[in-house]
Symmetry: C2
Subunit: 357 residues, 2 copies
DNA sequence: ATCGGTGGCAATATCGATAAAATCAGGTGG
DNA sequence: CCACCTGATTTTATCGATATTGCCACCGAT
């Protein structure tokens, strides 16, 4: 491993000059610079980031704690954040927390955090006190809605309003017996003081609010703690078993909704003719399922932008007043809630395919 | 930031003893250990990983270079590798290369690599010489099939054999006019010396091999350089436009296949009655699409296990002879290639849902 | 001729932890 | 009673880069 000292000797300068050339900070004469660069190229020198980090006190690495990486939503979020932070010269280490408290504690525990210049955390099982204790003075931006995170910068989506609009859409389309997949029971009050899965509880609250305006309507909530396609399929089946007259399915995430579409297909239930389905998150795959999935879009771009902005701000000024950003949202309606949208006439086997105009 | 020296002073010992307590290496008396641990807990001390890395010469971080993180396949792969390497006490930094040569060069360039103890690289546009030059003496495991990577440890999947089996499945089911989505033209010879997208070229070779056994059959290949759902939808439409009699669709990846399912639905083409569809990778979503997607499963567990094994081996012994692991594979047949599998009878609106038995 | 200013570069002192070697106390066998 | 060993702990010397300070030469201005 070639070191800066060796480069310096080969170029006939001091290590400090090499450092200055590489970081471009101080005044270095063009010929000296060129001489140093030549040696750097020739020897294949690479700065030792450990030494640099130690001396500078910064690593240039941001930790991203998410429940899972192999989900539509967090995969997309991770990809966007990685790309966006790269533009700021920051790299991202993704920590999979597994959506449980232990995993989240582990992810921000001990030595791990001090390798980071900042932390973006999508916590579901962690309280404010936990995060505060473990993160120390590390700049933290919390993702997702939590009720007790006032002391942190916080980027949330409009869980309640978005879910309310989603439920309203189903009800306005004539649904009378909703099933809500992935949220806690709707009967729970808003202020029960629980700290688990706030986002899902708030989405449930939105549904409750919409239901209040449609007196005849009923709703059944079924939940499991996982967020997989298989969970969505299983919960859809359970919902229809427990409430056979279900005619509208509101899913807490698009992943659950996409799984539910499959679960309904297994039961021979047609979407949207028999049951309307709407999801939450507007992941890319939602536009490409069959039928395509209506969803609440939380404004990913705005949220990523806000996350990065808040993080950079706090890294510059650790004592800034915590900011609370609420992203825009919109209901994106697709085939899964459009009653009229039957599949087009089936092409007879062997006939020419329709032309794209 | 509390330092080890401060802990040592507070506990009345030397920094070395604190270090020994924390790493558990040397003989430390129980009472001294306890005294140190008390101070550590009380002060909230955390080791400085930059200093540790500098001194130890290792970081405990593995770089993972993948084309994109927000795809079914690499999202899943990343999640598995992160989880698996965590068990070895190693963390993973994911680098998104964007599937182009520049991005891949960037990902393994300069200072980045020397922050890693090892590198797992899924390269598509990089040659062996590139990787060798940039990675230097860093332990590298290459993922995906490449023809010129003999000097590296290498975990590949059976692209050719898998694609051949997939094509054979379509042909045996009676397809006569295949469309191949996402591969280069089938006419190209195996040994054209090109270095781009080897995996896809090898998959094309497999298709060609299967075709040779079915003299009447034809095949059209359409390709774009991206691997998104939208690409799959667009290419499916293009294939049907250019070859209207297409009755079998073989997609180079499941992501393309899932997009193609949507594209076919847009055209009113029914899968599997009008066109059979098969993908490659067997991502989790393949089992949950409507219709569910037949696919070539490359044995993810075995590949992840082999990747980790080869990486750890090379980290221990940098001079080990490069090993070439070829994962098992299997064709997983689902609805998209099962002609008989019509959707079940549609439930009439309002009728009770079928019971799960 | 002197003085303040500036560009170009080097010497020094860390950043915080740890490997390796040294020290030291307390038994043990001869 | 001493040489010797072993476990417990400390001392010393880095790992490689960089912030800081300082030095020197050279410039125009007074």
């Amino acid at each position: 491993m070639v070191t800066m000292r060796e480069v310096a000797q080969a170029a006939g300068v001091s290590t400090m000059t090499v450092s200055n050339v590489l970081t471009g900070r101080r005044h270095v004469s063009p010929q000296t610079r060129q001489r140093v660069l030549d040696v750097v190229v020739r020897t294949g020198y690479q700065v030792n980031v450990a030494a640099r980090s130690l001396r500078r006190g910064r690593t240039g690495i941001i930790g991203l704690g998410v429940p899972e990486l192999d989900s539509h939503y967090f995969g997309m979020l991770g990809a966007r954040l990685v790309a966006r932070l790269a533009r700021e010269g920051l790299r991202v280490v993704v920590e999979q927390t597994g959506a449980d408290r232990e995993g989240e504690l582990e992810a921000i525990a001990d030595s791990r955090v001090n390798a980071y210049d900042g932390l973006i955390l999508s916590a579901s099982g962690l309280g404010s006190a936990d995060v505060a204790a473990l993160a120390g003075d590390l700049p933290v931006v919390m993702l997702g809605e939590r009720q007790d995170m006032h002391r942190f910068d916080h980027v949330e989506m409009s869980n309640t309003a978005g879910a309310e609009a989603a439920a309203r859409l189903l009800l306005e389309r004539g649904c009378e017996h909703l099933a809500v997949i992935g949220t806690p029971p709707l009967e729970r009050s808003d202020d029960d003081g629980g700290h688990q899965d706030d986002a899902f509880r708030l989405r449930a609250a939105g549904v409750r609010r919409a239901l209040a305006e449609f007196p005849g309507a009923t709703a059944l909530a079924v939940q499991e703690r996982t967020n997989h396609l298989s969970t969505g399929a299983a919960l859809a089946a359970e919902a229809l078993r427990r409430q056979p007259r279900t005619d509208g399915l509101l899913c807490a995430t698009d992943t659950l909704a996409l799984g539910a579409l499959r679960g309904l297909a297994d039961l021979g239930v047609h979407v949207p003719d028999d049951v309307l389905v709407i999801g939450f998150d507007d992941v890319p795959a939602a536009a490409y399922s069959v039928p395509s999935l209506s969803s609440v879009s939380p404004g990913h771009d705005a949220m990523v932008e806000a996350t990065v902005r808040l993080l950079l701000r706090r890294m510059r000024d650790p004592s800034a007043t915590p900011e609370h950003f609420v992203g825009p949202w919109a209901v994106v309606e697709r085939e899964s809630t459009r009653r009229g949208s039957r599949p087009r006439a089936r092409r007879s086997v062997g006939a020419p395919a329709p032309q794209r105009s």
